[in-house]
């Protein structure tokens, strides 16, 4: 019997299928909705979109955030139950992206929410999102 820490056991039990709460900001909408569609079907991996943050494991922040919308995103994050993961899509969440000199957007998502994984691209392809989810499963498997 392999001895694992308590955190590893809970993560293995809970993260078998990812339930996503969608917080699609403008640029994420056009590339994440096809993930639900029939060509890049995400239900075959066990991922579905839920309507309330209490049911969700993962918060997808897709695209640039302004001061007004990051306040709401923080409140949604606080309502999610442990264990929870934040995935940031797009280059606007890393350094400000194309709107680096705008007065109203925020430049680094890391200052406001603890981000687990960044997916680069403008906007990232659907295959990149699947690769990111596979890395989460791999990371949970290797936890000890």
């Amino acid at each position: 019997m392999v001895k694992r820490s308590e955190k590893a056991t809970t993560m293995r039990k809970v993260i078998k299928a990812i339930w996503i709460f969608n917080w699609f900001n403008s640029c994420g909408f056009a590339e994440l909705v096809p993930l639900v569609g029939s060509r890049w079907d995400m239900e075959r991996f066990g991922m579905i979109i839920v309507g309330t943050p209490r049911h969700a494991d993962v918060l997808f922040i897709a695209g640039y955030q302004t001061h007004k919308s990051i306040e709401r995103a923080k409140r949604v994050y606080e309502q999610m139950a442990e264990p929870r993961v934040v995935i940031a899509l797009g280059s606007c969440t890393m350094t400000g992206g194309m709107y680096w000199d705008s007065y109203n957007t925020i430049k680094k998502l890391d200052d406001y929410l603890p981000v687990t994984m960044y997916i680069p691209g403008c906007p990232p392809r659907p295959e990149a999102v699947f690769e990111a989810c596979e890395k989460i499963f791999q990371h949970v498997k290797e936890l000890e």
Partner: protein, 167 residues
């Protein structure tokens, strides 16, 4: 080619004693002083110019003036008439055209009040539209430099990833 536009411009010039020009087919540009604005706009609306396409403000920093432009379209004549008028930059005040074009003009004026600081007399709903808790100056004025503001607030010169934004 521009016969209809020239005739219409002549009618306007003789009736209101203003100067304008025909730029090309379907485009007329008029410059007036701000006290004739309401009178001319009322006449335009009664003569078929029922669609207000946009209201915009240009900030001429060197002259010290704001230039307001009203773009009007007529579905019958199919001509676009632009009316331009100048007001002072330090205390911008002008009459509102909501009495003529209703809610269409009201939302454009609300946006310009927030972004440029223009006061429209007669418009009773000038609350902030896009920004929440913004305490700085009116954002779209030419003396508010965005790149300086962003470098001070968000970026750190000593960080090696962010050094590139400082040249």
């Amino acid at each position: 080619m521009v016969k209809k536009e020239t005739e219409f411009l002549k009618k306007l010039e003789t009736k209101f004693k203003v100067k304008g020009r025909v730029q090309k087919e379907r485009r007329i540009w008029l410059s007036i002083s701000k006290d004739k604005l309401i009178e001319i706009c009322k006449w335009m609306k009664e003569n078929g110019y029922v669609h207000l396409s946009a209201i915009s403000v240009t900030d001429w920093l060197k002259d010290g003036k704001y230039e307001l432009t009203y773009h009007l379209w007529s579905y019958d004549d199919k001509i676009l008439v632009t009316i331009k008028t100048k007001i002072s930059r330090n205390d911008p005040k002008i009459d509102s055209v909501t009495q003529i074009w209703g809610n269409n003009a009201q939302i454009h004026e609300r946006e310009l009040h927030e972004l440029f600081g223009v006061n429209f007399k007669g418009n009773n709903d000038l609350l902030p539209l896009f920004l929440e808790d913004w305490k700085g100056p009116a954002p779209f004025r030419k003396d508010f430099d965005w790149r300086d503001f962003v470098r001070k607030e968000f970026y750190d010169k000593k960080n090696e990833r962010e050094m590139v934004y400082f040249d």
